[in-house]
């Protein structure tokens, strides 16, 4: 703790901060631009000036940049000194010299840090009347809009894009007062985190291009705390709606989870909510062969009741993309022994294995914050950039051993970004990647290894054996792999906070076991190793904790005629098992009820479809791969008969009398039931306050006090405005009325504070700048490690991968844009989604005279696919890659052996196809 004096008053602040951080943390308003809590200080903008005094007798003082000055014990500064106030006002005046007269047509307006800082410094009158400099804009693709005239040259964008996120195709170009922030030529921003430029840039240079199509000001958005549903990480988001339509997703700071940043899939994947494939009406078919027709809600419920009359013959198929509440409601409707998780056998096995490792072992599943603070990491088999993007971003921030040491030797604070980068130069952090093919994280890694999944697992086992000889040795290990294992083991052992990352991406249980062995070996040595296992979907862990059979056992129940009615919850079974298996099973069912929000192949098989709410239209709970249960809240009222799946299922559970009172089905009730019946979920009651929670007797408003148009929005239909809708499920109100005080962290609907209209207002919600939110970061962990346990090491080391004669091992490759079905329906993401392909190693392709762009036929047990070829030199020979889950791809259980035959050769003069970036998202369009 240090005592600093601000305008002659003493304040106690935490050690190791800079003055700007300390002042903001104490609630003072010091204007700034280039400093960012996650990016550190470089002192580029000169806006954060304060006056520093030698001692209490010093009356002259000197102007310093608060972001570059440590808040050391005894420092005396003045924020209010007239000279320094004038200095700050001049700085902003200079920045505004060339600023365009754009606010009314600028999408940043109303949440613009530059506007806020201009008002804060008191610069109100433009005295400079010479011509303004102008720039041309670039087309940066479908996600980010560029308007370069508005730049104030703070360099935040390049620092984020290049240094923090590892992008290469964007830079500060040109010279002197022409410095230009953009790409060398127009084109899609390649980095998966480009959307963060919208929030990082303090001006309107970068704005959300998808929002532009249905633009609304921040003050008009009805917002609520939400959770991203597009991967297993559960990043916290703020969803915003206007006129009953979801308009955008922004980051919601959670110090333990995503911190300040989201990935582009999470930020731009929201448009499926308003897309054409939404189901908005109950649909039913009078008989199997008939077409679906709209039915009224009451009739739909009656039909469902008749289908469900014989409860003993109904099975329920849940979903890892549906909320805990919905899955539980289904489980209650059909009974625990007739509830199935709706995942493929492989997924089921992998999730169960991962859960067991995390619950029985001594290695802790880290939060993303712990990942950012790790100092050495081994990634085993997972293409994190494409399966858990923000985890990849966190892995780029590993603490560099040199930076750690420097902090002590040179007294170099961790926020002094430029100095630390100067010191570290191009040296890589201790990040080791072992994946089947090239991944985009590789530029940050100090060593990479590409091999078949079994060989990757062998590397893991070898590392574990190096760390603790009690773990099984790996026979026939190639010498260079052994050397690599030794190097990795040495780095992990010498690290203070070592981290192992693996996951279900390769569908290899051996991989998970190898990762567990490494982490456990470290734990046995007394190194507190962290083990982060990537799971595929938003609620994979939650569903795993709930328990139930896999999809095949559900099919078996149908085959054995133990059931004849199926209720499918938010699940496209055709993405889980082969079309033949699903068809055969559903054929056996007399009635199929589908509850979902989006149309997919299952709709063709359902006898009754009930329109479910998306994440934006319901409140619920999801459990992320860390094991953290998090609540998301309804943002907008759903259309006519759409309602949360858990409410539909509650209604179906009522006796068929039709007297069900919807008021009985409230979130609180179902949460209490879950916690009562399944003790593993008891902490979910503490994630957020119950719906009866009030602040000063009032709810927390979803609308800002500036929200406009209340008496005009609906006036076209009826001039008497309706009463605001009630929300029985949460302490949030669909209104601007309510308490404007600081809500509990799980209920923060938007970051705003007087004078701070931009998202930089988050400073006012944090207990310590860049640290936890006041009263703690939201979410409750449901799984904890067995500290000190010494479980037996996994003993089965796979044998060396041998390419089979004439056959290739097909492994899944992932795409941030496309592999996840909901985001792939969103317009911006759809434009960036890769086409179907199969990736072959050059040697395997040459052996069969296949060239890039040829069409080949892929034969694998009973399935035959026709796909264009991409040559990927990074794949190991004998291994082929198939993109996972792209729109229009049929389900194939991977890994599996396949044969490849050419069916169409591209003429030699055909233009070359984009051959780069297998499993790489943006780079791999076709």
């Amino acid at each position: 703790m240090a005592v600093i004096y601000i305008d002659n008053r003493p304040y106690t602040v935490k050690d190791g901060q800079n003055l700007l951080q300390a002042c903001l943390g104490l609630g003072f308003d010091v204007p700034y631009f280039c400093w960012h809590p996650a990016l550190g200080s470089v002192g580029a903008c000169r806006q954060c000036a304060v006056k520093q005094f030698k001692d209490e007798h010093d009356t002259r003082g000197k102007i310093v940049m608060s972001c570059m000055t440590p808040a050391a014990d005894g420092v005396r500064i003045s924020i209010d000194d007239p000279e320094v106030r004038e200095f700050r006002a001049s700085v902003i005046e200079w920045m505004m010299i060339n600023h365009p007269h754009d606010c009314p047509v600028c999408d940043e307006g109303g949440e613009c840090h530059l506007q806020d800082m201009t008002v804060m410094t008191g610069h109100v009158h433009r005295e400079y009347n010479f011509p303004k400099r102008t720039f041309r804009n670039q087309n940066l693709g479908p996600l980010v809009n560029h308007e370069m005239n508005r730049c104030i040259h703070c360099y935040r964008c390049v620092r984020f894009y290049r240094q923090y996120a590892g992008g290469r195709d964007f830079d500060a170009l040109a010279a002197h007062d022409h410095v230009y922030f953009g790409r060398s030529e127009d084109g899609v921003l390649e980095n998966e985190f480009s959307g963060n430029l919208v929030e990082v840039c303090p001006t309107g240079v970068f704005t959300d291009k998808t929002l532009k199509r249905h633009y609304s000001r921040k003050w008009d958005l009805q917002t609520a705390p939400s959770i991203c549903v597009h991967c297993g990480l559960g990043c916290n988001t703020i969803a915003g709606s206007r006129y009953g339509q979801l308009r955008r997703i922004r980051n919601r700071y959670n110090g333990e989870v995503n911190g300040y940043f989201l990935c582009d899939r999470g930020r731009y994947g929201y448009e499926f909510v308003t897309g054409d494939s939404r189901i908005e009406q109950p649909l039913a078919r009078p008989e199997r062969s008939a077409a679906l027709e709209r039915v009224a809600r009451g009739e739909a419920l009656q039909r469902a009741a008749s289908f469900l009359r014989d409860r003993g013959r109904v099975i329920g198929i849940g979903s890892p993309r549906a909320s805990l509440e919905a899955n539980y409601a289904l489980r209650r409707l059909v009974g625990p022994d007739r509830f199935y998780l709706g995942v493929s056998t492989e997924d089921y096995r992998m999730t169960a294995a991962a859960l067991k490792i995390l619950q029985a072992g001594p290695a802790r599943s880290p939060s993303l914050k712990e990942v950012r603070m790790a100092d050495a990491a081994l990634v085993l088999g997972e293409d994190v950039t494409n399966t858990a993007p923000v985890l990849a971003l966190a892995l780029r921030q590993l603490v560099h051993p040199k930076a750690d040491a420097a902090a002590k030797t040179f007294d170099l604070p961790s926020w002094s970004d430029a100095a630390i980068r100067e010191l570290v130069q191009d040296e890589k952090e201790s990040l080791f990647l072992a994946t089947p093919a090239h991944t985009k994280l590789e530029d940050a890694a100090c060593q990479t290894y590409h091999a078949a999944p079994d060989n990757l697992a062998r590397l893991g086992f070898a590392v574990a054996h190096r760390i603790d000889p009690a773990s099984p040795a790996v026979p026939d290990l190639a010498e260079e792999v052994d050397r690599l294992a030794e190097e990795i083991a040495a780095a992990l052992v010498s690290a203070k906070r070592p981290l192992i990352v693996s996951g279900t991406g390769c569908c290899s249980e051996a991989m998970l076991q190898a990762a567990a062995n490494v982490a456990w070996a470290l734990c046995r040595r007394g190194n507190p190793a962290l083990l982060s296992l990537v799971l595929p979907e938003a609620n994979s862990i939650g569903l795993g904790l709930m328990g139930g059979g896999d999809l095949q056992s559900a099919f078996q129940a149908l085959r054995e005629e133990r059931a004849d009615t199926v209720v499918v919850l938010e699940n496209d079974l055709y993405r889980r098992e082969s079309a033949a298996a699903v068809d055969a099973a559903l054929q056996l069912a007399k009635h199929v009820i589908l509850i979902d929000h989006t149309r997919h192949a299952m709709a063709e098989k359902a006898d009754l479809i009930l329109p479910a709410a998306t994440f934006a239209e319901e409140s619920g709970t999801l459990v992320n791969s860390e094991g953290r249960a998090q609540r998301y809240y309804q943002v907008l009222l759903p259309k006519a008969s759409v309602q949360p799946s858990w409410r539909w299922l509650g209604l179906l559970n009522e006796p068929a009398s039709g007297t069900a009172d919807e008021e009985l089905f409230k979130l609180d009730g179902i949460l209490a039931d879950i916690a009562g019946e399944l003790p593993q979920f008891r902490p979910i009651l503490e994630i957020a306050p119950p719906s009866g929670f009030r602040m000063m007797g009032q709810k927390v408003p979803r609308q800002s006090p500036r929200s406009s148009g209340r008496t005009a929005i609906d006036a076209k239909e009826n001039v008497s405005e309706p009463k605001p809708p009630e929300d029985p499920d949460s302490p949030l109100a669909f209104s601007m009325e309510g308490d404007e005080g600081l809500p509990p962290p799980a209920l923060i609907p938007r970051f705003w504070a007087p004078g701070w209209n931009s998202d930089q207002a988050v400073n006012k919600f944090q207990a310590e700048i860049g640290g936890a939110l006041r009263s703690g970061d939201p979410g409750k962990r449901l799984i904890e490690p067995q500290v000190g346990a010494q479980p037996d090491f996994f003993q089965t080391v796979p044998t060396v991968f041998e390419p089979h004669d004439g056959r290739l091992l097909l492994v899944p490759l992932y795409h941030i844009f496309g592999s996840e079905p909901l985001s792939a329906l969103s317009r911006g993401i759809a434009e960036l989604t890769s086409g179907r392909y199969v990736a072959l190693h050059p040697a395997d392709a040459a052996a069969q005279k296949i060239a890039e762009g040829d069409t080949v036929q892929l034969e694998l047990d009973g399935i035959s696919l026709e796909l264009p070829v991409k040559i990927a030199a990074s794949l190991p020979p004998g291994v082929a890659g198939l993109p996972s889950g792209l729109p229009g791809m049929e389900h194939v259980a991977l890994p599996s052996w396949c044969t490849v035959t050419t069916i169409l050769q591209t003429p030699p003069l055909a233009p070359p196809q984009n051959g780069e970036g297998v499993g790489g998202g943006v780079g791999a369009q076709s």
Binding site: P100, H101, D102, C103, P104, V105, G109, G110, N129, F130, P131, K132, R133, T134, F135, R136, N137, E147, N149, R150, L173, A174, A175, H176, H178, Y180, K212, H214, Y215, S216, R217, W219, D220, Y243, R706, S707, S708, G709, R710, T711, A712, I713, A715, K716, N718, V719, S720
Partner: protein, 171 residues
């Protein structure tokens, strides 16, 4: 008794005073040009819609009777897709006109807005948009703004230099 006589006297004396009541509607009152009556949306000197859908008028409106939706044409010009004022709520305070950065929304001296049906007091853009510039004939926001729109490229606004050649190193 005396007070009653006094009262009668006052009333009688008014019989011979000048009348202040105007025989409306037979006689139309002359309103000052800045009277705050019926709200209109105006056009800029080139005849294009002035409103850029910035939402400032709707934000400032104390009774929240303005609702609109922004849209953009293919050349980057912003305009309101719809623009609605519920005059049954409007208090004619003129804040919207004050807030408008483009002189688009203006209050006019027309006060004859009575309706028998309250619903008819809801005005849409087609009821609000007039064909002229209203009280401020010269102003064209896009001549001042830095964004490019159809017919006005970068660097062509008032007091702007031509766009920078980022590949040049000349000072």
């Amino acid at each position: 008794m005396l007070s009653i006589l006094k009262g009668i006297w006052v009333i009688l004396s008014h019989t011979f005073r000048r009348r202040v009541t105007v025989q409306y509607p037979d006689v139309q009152p002359i309103m000052p040009p800045r009277y705050r009556g019926r709200i209109v949306l105006t056009r800029d000197p080139s005849g294009a819609e002035r409103c850029v859908a910035c939402y400032l008028c709707s934000a400032v409106c104390p009774v929240e009777c303005i609702a609109l939706q922004a849209a953009e044409d293919e050349h980057g010009r912003r305009y309101p897709e719809f623009f609605r004022i519920n005059f049954s709520r409007c208090i004619f305070c003129g804040f919207c006109e004050d807030a408008c950065p483009t002189y688009a929304i203006q209050l006019t001296p027309d006060f004859e807005m009575g309706e028998y049906v309250r619903q008819n007091l809801v005005y849409e853009k087609e009821h609000l948009l007039i064909s002229g510039p209203g009280k401020y004939p010269g102003y064209d926001f896009y001549r001042m703004a830095g964004v490019a729109i159809g017919g006005k490229d970068k660097g062509e606004a008032e007091n702007e230099e031509p766009p920078v050649d980022v590949r040049s190193l000349m000072p």
